[in-house]
């Protein structure tokens, strides 16, 4: 705190100012918070629904393209393809995907 140079009479005047009465302010603010909370919930639900719908539309295409890519890989790189398609390859891919997702949402 640095009070150096502050006028004591002005300080007294500011200190004497009455605090505004609570009145309806708190109730009105809490009502606004409630509506903001509802709006946020609706936005989140809408976002989740959009993501689910887009995922449902895109998923077959992604699966198809993945199969094509895997076919291409196993044809050209038999060993790498087999490794990717093996249970261990699937687990490694799942771990990498999980770490990316965690970083994204944290």
């Amino acid at each position: 705190m640095n009070d150096a140079g502050l006028d004591p009479d002005l300080l007294r005047l500011f200190a004497e100012a009455p605090t505004p009465p609570e009145g309806t302010f708190v109730a009105a603010t809490i009502a606004k918070l409630e509506s903001a909370r509802r709006a946020r919930l609706i936005r989140r639900l809408a976002g989740t629904i959009v993501i689910l719908v887009v995922a449902a539309i895109v998923a077959p295409y992604v699966a198809q393209q993945t199969l094509i890519a895997m076919d291409w890989l196993t044809d050209r790189l038999p060993e790498t393809g087999a490794a990717l398609a093996s249970p261990i390859g699937c687990v490694c891919a799942a771990v990498i995907a999980w770490r990316i997702a965690r970083r994204q949402f944290n």
Binding site: L6, D7, L10, P20, F25, A36
Partner: protein, 185 residues
């Protein structure tokens, strides 16, 4: 997952506990914080804009913004200063957008509660009228220094104004107030 505190527990709880609960997502705790902190924030805005209705609107904006971002607050002890900085930013944004920030004396005198002695009320009205004649940034610096008792450096950090400008605003603003309130001493 944090268990929400009951309204009675919140009323009796110390400030840091209430803030920690609000940070953890307890909306009841945030409501209690609004109840405890509304006085200083509304007072700050009333000093800055002299219009009680506008001051309450701006205070609500500050509390809403704080509610939206309270999960980013690292330490409960920093809440009061953080909330005040949000309020200052809201007011500065309004000033920079060129929107009205101060009203005439009529609005204030009509809205003030006549529960104080007449002399003190007149003194406060004089102070408010004198403050309203100052340019917005000077009024802000004077209010933060005299009403909020912030140091020059704290004001400089909160307003993003250069330290020299803050010092000169406070010195010149106080001199102007002393001139206008010549009879108060």
């Amino acid at each position: 997952m944090t268990r929400a505190l009951s309204p009675n527990a919140l009323r009796g709880a110390d400030e840091l506990t209430v803030i920690a609960a609000a940070i953890a997502g307890d909306d009841g705790a945030y409501g209690e914080l609004v109840r405890r902190r509304q006085g200083p924030i509304r007072q700050l805005f009333r000093r800055l804009c002299r219009n009680p209705a506008l001051a309450d609107d701006l205070s609500q904006q500050a509390f809403l913004q704080a509610w939206r971002h309270i999960d980013t607050l690292k330490s409960p002890a920093a809440f009061a200063g953080w909330l005040r900085r949000l309020a200052i930013n809201i007011w500065l944004q309004r000033v920079r957008a060129g929107r009205p920030v101060a009203e005439g004396l009529d609005d204030l005198s009509a809205a003030e509660e006549p529960t104080q002695p007449a002399a003190m009320l007149n003194e406060q009205l004089d102070l408010d009228s004198a403050l309203a004649t100052l340019p917005p940034t000077v009024r802000l610096c004077i209010t933060l220094a005299y009403a909020e008792r912030m140091s020059h450096r704290e004001i400089c950090e909160a307003t993003q104004l250069p330290l020299g400008t803050v010092k000169s605003h406070i010195t010149r603003g106080a001199a102007r107030l002393r001139d206008l309130l010549g009879a108060y001493a």
